[in-house]
Amino acid sequence: MAKIKLLKLSHARSGDKGDTANVGLIALKPEYYPILVKEVTAQRVKDHFRGICLGEVERFEVPNLGALNFLLHQSLDGGGTLSLKTDAQGKTYSSALLRMEVDVDESVARELES
């Protein structure tokens, strides 16, 4: 097994609903989707966003888009106009998730490096 950043396997977009941020994580190739499903669990995302996400993380599967959707509750300092954060709408949480490293087969890692 090799460690690979999600940035190599997926792209993403994030937004807000009140104090909850959502991050949609999309596999760059259909064969990467099962890796995302296995590796990027709600618990791992919660651990990844420690200090940022103060509530629960929910995960939804969207297999037809090769995507996962995450809801990060209590992540925006109250959200909307209440928030004092630069990123009060969680718009950069998309690439924050892409920093995560996951385990992939050596063959996948080699393909990504070539």
């Binding site: 792209h11 993403a12 977009r13 994030s14 937004g15 807000d16 609903k17 009140g18 104090d19 909850t20 959502n22 949609g24 999309i26 760059l28 990844h48 966003f49 420690r50 200090g51 940022i52 939804f60 599967e61 969207v62 297999p63 037809n64 888009l65 090769g66 995507a67 959707n69 809801l71 300092d77 109250g78 959200g79 909307g80 106009t81 209440l82 004092l84 954060k85 630069t86 990123d87 718009k91 950069t92 998309s94 690439s95 924050a96 920093r99």
Partner: protein, 455 residues
Amino acid sequence: MNRTIRIANGQGFWGDSLHAPIELVKRGPIDYLTLDYLAEVTMSIMQKQRARDPKSGYARDFVSMVEEILPDIIERNIKVVANAGGVNPEACRDAVADAARRRGFSGKVKVGVVTGDDIMNRLDDFIARGVELKNSETGEPLASIRSRVQSANVYFGGRHIAEALDKGAQVVIAGRVTDTGLTLGPMIHEYGWKPDDWDRLAAGTIAGHTIECGAQCTGGNCLIDWETIPNLADIGYPVVEANADGSFVVTKHKGTGGRLSVASVKEQLLYEMGDPREYITPDCVADFTTIQLTQDGIDRVRFSGIKGKPATDLFKVSVSYSAGWKAIGSLVYAWPDAYKKAQLADRVLRERLDRLDLKFDKILTEFVGANACHGQLSGPPSHDIAEVTFRIGVRSEDKRAVEQFTREIAPLVLNGPPTVTGFAGGRPKVEEIIAYWPALIPKSELRAKISVIEA
């Protein structure tokens, strides 16, 4: 009717490009131009404007935009659908009708309004009758903040837009309607989709979701292959080519910049998504896990297979209320040790705020350039970092405390850590916080009013 209709979106929020709607009309074929002006806080801003002037409280730039495209939309019978009415749709309608008369189009334009979404004057009645309007996130009843409420509106849907079009309106002005309803409405009107035709209503809703943020589905804010997206300066806004069976293609005018690919559309589909199987609107519940996407030529993405479920018997309510005061200030520290200097400035300022015995609900410090966006995920900043912006914000119920805070930042330039700049803007502004309270209400409590006049 079974014809293919083209529905464009030229405004993703109030403050989006002023040129986009005009370009959509001038640079290619469209049948409907939709425009989304309302964010949650917009209604409270408009409420304040109307309190000062009973003829205001709507998106004024909508009127001048319509005025500019009037000759084209009349000649080509393009219909305009917008939630530009804010808290005063009738005043917005009157302004549009005046503009039409001024331009010599008397008797040539019908303007419709959808009203009844404003429930500000009914809140006490609702609460007295046990309609609690509980906060959907916290469960608290509205009564706990009743005295601080600034605006309260129900989200109507596409069917209400369709009714105005059925009555012959060429320009439809709504107050609070769902963003997706602006796109779905024309489809219901054209194709006569029944209120329980859940699959087609879901398809129209998903078309609306795809284009409601304007260029965010045509290559704007698009992460995948962002460096190769052509000509962002002339990005094309989206156009839906809709069919009576509920299938549709999302595209943009030929010759415009940007990119429409399956991947760029996927990003937008997931934007502000909750449970993808349960995308709830007044018109239906759409299931995003049923969408099939295919590339249908350059800058064309075809949607098919969409399934929906019955609508709920509740409308969503958006309440805005006054929730205290805030201010945010910043200073820039330069190399060497920029981050350490900014950290010291933070400690010094916080100690001074303590000594002044000011009460804040929250003090938040960020170091822009080091970790403001991604927090601890950014890792420690490089020792050699060129500059760091020290950004600090406070909020409080006590306006005076926030005002005093704004006076404590500038002195740091002379009496804090060195190589500091970036204070040319003066003291930070004290802003009133208008917070957002989402709730639900039984549909039976409300009736939309739809009227159409001739300019």
